[in-house]
Amino acid sequence: MVVETMTIEVAEASAVGFKAIGAGLAVGLAGMGTGLAQLGIGGAAVGATAENKEMFGLALLFTVIPETVVIFGLVIALLLLF
């Protein structure tokens, strides 16, 4: 039954759908990874800044380092979609 309905059009349409799912997973999972990494760093960074205001720049720097991961996810998603 399944084999009979699987025409080329259907296959193409589902390929587009799978791409969209892949793009979503790329951004979502990468975002979770970044979030997990920033969880610890962010907490420590806020603590350090509260102790010493001059730490702000360095704290910000450490906090944004894992951001690259989600950007990679976003880039992969863009490449998949366009």
């Binding site: 720097l61 990679f72 976003l74 863009l78 366009f82």
Partner: protein
């Protein structure tokens, strides 16, 4: 340009009778960063002691404390006031301090006391009203409950009516989900009665010391509070009037006395002997001549000033920026990271040019640019000086860049402007735009990778420049320079290999040439050799650095955020427009009804919320990602920082003049 201010180390020595004149002159010039004297046995300073404060220090401090307390009462602060156009001469301030300060202080103390006593009375009356509240259900005079010799009166709350075994007279009435109970028992039965009452869950409350019924007293107190509040308002009005009258004088006094105290305490940082003193410190080289000649004339030539040699690397030279006006606001972004070291390459100008470009590249939208510009203009009222104003200036430049990029991208709040995008198309296939060919995502990604390659190459080259300038010639310096050159070679080697294998837009096409070795063509081979030489160069500087090799790729790819974050911002804007206008407003406009009008209002709310959110995200995305690319990807390639901030002795005077 690209250099911090050149500093000279000055040594000022004179006999102690010139101390005051020298300190006064140094304070006026506001350029001398005093190097604190530490008592030690260092050569040439044996036996020197830390100086004593100038006479008058404690008097000035005491007066300053008085001024500050008046300022506190009136809520005046010198920081909160902008510089005044007409400055008061110090002699006049001095006279007014002697003549008027006493009266002003007495006024302030009186007003503050009046205010405090009114506030206390109001608070007291409010407590009394609260205490009277349970007794409002008791209709008789409260004074009648007191002053018995042979009876004891119990008053309190019980949840259910109680009957006592001892002879008594009792009043009970419902009050606030409970019952007010007043029981009068003869003194000999008091103990027994009390036990019975507490057994029934009786919570005693004090009987207010009042004459009259609780209701009457409450009304009287409420009237009194209203009256006192009016009085309080009048006193507050007088305080504000006094504040307006005296604010200018107070801040002028504050400035004058602060200056006197700071001057008087300056000798604590000098080295002194019985008869002489020595002050050491840093002065920007271009101010040395003016300071020297003014010191000479102020002391009648009785001062010895000499420039001392110093080692720009070893000595902690204070660092002051030396940038064109355009780049001055960006110094704030540099200070957040770290101030450059003395003699280090100062990248402020580069940041001030590249940061707005990155910001505009990400948030290229005429609408958002105008909103940010207006927002910045509005906030300028509240942030008049310091880091806040610098930040606003940075964002002004960024918003202008955003508008320019918006014109190129043809975007206004996610809508297309009446022309096609120039160069790069970022319009997504959403709603009525679905027929378009979609954004040039790949083109943008490659373009941003190029930006990354060039930015990082520049960073590495700057590291080589810094090393050649700051380090002593020798083996160590050559190692560092070749190490950095190795990083550049490795990156371009990888690029050559990639070009020889794949065809990419905006990149040189080197694929398709006959293979020479292991499937690589000539360019690929050249790339592999560059990479190998680069790795050797990095390794000879530090083997551990080889661990960082993957950052060659990851840091370049990190720049693709310029494209990705920008596209996500466009997506949010376009989706907001699609939902608000095409899905909600347009169908209702076509067929107008009462419900339709409500739905249109909902659509407008959706539109506003969506774009407000996107503006906030745009500031965060555009600002934070742009500065992060500088901090993490660019600065880590060459920038050391950690310079000591230049803090000259003295103050720019806002309210007074000599």
């Amino acid at each position: 340009m690209f250099d911090t201010q050149t500093m000279s180390r000055l040594l000022i020595a004179a006999s102690k009778d010139q101390l005051e004149a020298v300190v006064r002159e140094l304070y006026r010039h506001n350029v001398f960063d005093i190097e604190d004297f530490v008592e030690s046995d260092a050569q040439g300073l044996e036996g020197c002691k830390i100086g004593m404060p100038l006479p008058g220090a404690s008097e000035s401090s005491a007066e300053l404390v008085r001024i500050r307390s008046i300022e506190n009462i009136y809520g005046v602060s010198p920081q909160g006031m902008g510089s005044s156009d007409t400055k008061v001469p110090t002699s006049q301030v001095q006279q007014r301090i002697e003549r008027e300060l006493q009266a002003i202080e007495e006024d302030a103390a009186k007003l503050s006391e009046e205010k405090l006593s009114l506030e206390n009375t109001i608070r007291d009356y409010e407590t009394r009203i609260a205490e009277l509240k349970p007794f409002t259900v008791f209709p008789a005079n409260l004074a009648d409950l007191k002053g018995f010799e042979n009876f004891v009166v119990f008053a309190g709350l019980v949840s259910a009516p109680v009957s006592l075994g001892v002879p008594n007279e009792m009043f009970s009435a419902a009050y606030d989900k409970s019952n007010l109970l007043i029981a009068v028992v003869s003194r000999e039965d008091a103990e027994e009665g009390e036990r019975e009452l507490f057994g029934a869950g009786f919570q005693p409350i004090p009987i207010p010391d009042e004459a009259g019924t609780a209701g009457e007293r409450t009304v009287w107190y409420t009237h009194e509070i209203t009256r006192l509040e009016k009085e309080l308002e009048a006193v507050s009005g007088r305080i504000i009037a006094q504040k307006e009258k005296n604010a200018a004088f107070l801040v002028a006094c504050d400035e004058l006395l602060t200056a006197e105290v700071e001057r008087a305490e300056a000798p604590l940082r000098f080295a002194t002997t019985e008869e002489t003193f020595v002050a050491e410190g840093w002065v920007p080289t271009d101010s040395v001549a003016a300071l020297t000649s003014d010191l000479q004339s102020a002391t009648g030539g009785k001062v010895f000033i000499s420039e001392v040699e110093y080692d720009p690397v070893e000595d902690a030279v204070p660092v002051e920026y030396h940038n064109p006006d355009f780049s001055k606001p960006t110094e704030m972004l540099m200070d957040i990271y770290s101030r450059p070291q003395y003699n280090e390459f100062d990248p402020t100008i580069l940041v001030s040019i590249v940061f707005p470009i990155f910001f505009g590249f990400i948030l290229g939208d005429v609408g958002y640019g105008i909103i940010l510009l207006a927002l910045g203009y509005y906030l300028r009222k509240y942030l008049k000086e310091g880091a806040g104003k610098q930040l606003l200036d940075v964002f002004r430049n960024a918003s202008i860049s955003s508008i320019i990029f918006g014109l190129l991208y043809s975007e206004f709040l996610g809508f297309a402007l009446p022309w096609d995008p120039i160069g790069i198309n970022r319009h997504l296939n959403i709603g009525s735009h679905a027929s378009g060919h979609g954004p040039d995502a790949v083109l943008m990604l490659v373009l941003t990778a190029w930006i990354g390659i060039l930015h990082i190459t520049l960073g590495r080259a700057l590291h080589m420049y810094n090393a050649s300038r700051m380090m002593k010639p020798g083996k160590h310096r050559s190692k560092v320079i070749f190490g950095q050159f190795g990083w550049i070679l490795a990156m371009w080697g990888i690029l050559l290999i990639l070009w020889s294998l794949f065809e990419m837009p905006l990149m040189p096409v080197l694929a398709g040439y006959p293979a020479v070795f292991m499937g690589f063509n000539g360019f690929g081979m050249a790339g592999a050799i560059l990479l190998a030489v680069g790795v050797l160069g990095i390794g000879q500087d530090s083997v551990l650095e080889l661990m960082e090799l993957p950052t060659i790729v990851s840091h370049v790819l990190s720049y693709t955020r310029l494209a990705a974050v920008g596209l996500s911002s466009v997506a949010i804007a376009m989706v907001t427009n699609y939902i608000a206008i095409e899905l909600i407003i347009d169908p209702q406009l076509a067929n107008l009804s009462v419900v339709g009008v409500v739905l249109i209002l909902v659509g407008i709310v959706v539109f506003l919320i969506g774009h407000t959110l996107n503006t906030a995200l745009g500031i965060l995305g555009g600002g934070l990602h742009s500065i992060r690319l500088h901090y993490v990807e660019f600065f880590t390639k060459f920038y050391k920082g950690g310079g000591r901030k230049y803090k000259p002795f003295g103050k720019l005077r806002k309210f007074t003049e000599d």
